[in-house]
Point group: none
Chain length 155, copies 2
DNA sequence: TTGAATACCATCTTATCCCATGCTACTTAT
DNA sequence: ATAAGTAGCATGGGATAAGATGGTATTCAA
């Protein structure tokens, strides 16, 4: 599970260390790295491990093959994403387009969101986090579990 | 899983490099290459590895033998497809009919879509991708997980 | 013999690997 | 309790290999 927030430096070659606790989550046997794509919801990147991609694949492939939203998802998430493997010390090299898309230079903030994570420009994240905090506070009553099922099975 | 997007050059002999990521996916033991066919949904090519063809075969053979959709699939996908093997450096030679069908000359864009991929004229792809992105954003709520099950089991 | 398709070789660019270093947090011993 | 030692993590730079691409040689068929 991706938890916590960390800001790391993005060097001239586009390399950035993925927080060690994130790396521990994505172990997949075959592929040692993460998958990242530009969010279609703002100027930041989204990512996760291969397990997350398979979960999205299952969701998308359960949709009607002729549903135009399905095709849009496929072309945005799968086609827009990149598989980035760790180097010996746990870094990835961010494609230039991605860094540009999220206004990253010099440093970037990883924020864990449970089953996935986001990468933000640190300043953008600061203002966004304040807004999110306010929204969460205003909606706190909605966090209660209404159904009988546990929110997260098996935990 | 086929991920990411890459534009490679198509030379005078009709050769084009298949992105290394894609080549890593199609490893099948017996056949070292990909299968491609003209899409019945637009001026682009579709393709995948032999595994994908076997998956389609299983799907199609589960359909009613006289279902006209079945016959259309068989004729488009199986009869229309070509098996293209890699040369020593990971290129395929695109049949001229295929290049014409998808308006390819000089370069072509490979886009990964999970279990399969598409090959587009780069310009056509650009306008198409923008539209897909917009549509995905408008439908983003449909990608959320409604059940109480965790998105990624075991995490 | 000529054309076309395929296999082979060369080069350049770019990404990946490897080593060295600094920093921080935690452990251990006095 | 404090100081020294140690291990894990983050970062910087240079060496190396892999990928993409252009060109030449060879084979097979008409």
């Amino acid at each position: 599970m991706f938890l916590s927030t960390a800001t790391n430096t993005l060097d001239a070659k586009g390399r950035i260390s993925v927080p060690a606790d994130f790396r521990a989550v994505v172990g997949d046997g075959s592929f040692d790295g993460i998958v990242i794509w530009p969010s279609f919801d703002g100027a930041y990147l989204e990512g996760g491990g291969m397990k997350l991609m398979r979960a999205y694949q299952a969701l998308i492939e359960a949709m009607d093959p002729y549903d135009e939203a399905r095709i849009a998802f496929e072309r945005t998430i799968f086609a827009g994403s990149r598989r980035l493997s760790f180097d010996g010390t746990g870094r990835i090299t961010l494609p230039k387009e991605f860094a540009q898309y999220a206004n990253l230079n010099g440093s970037a903030t990883f924020i864990g969101l449970g089953s996935r994570f986001e990468i933000w420009n640190p300043d953008d994240h600061k203002s966004q986090a304040a807004a999110a905090r306010k929204l969460a506070s205003e909606n706190k009553h909605r966090l209660s579990v209404r159904s009988n099922a546990p929110l997260v099975r098996g935990e």
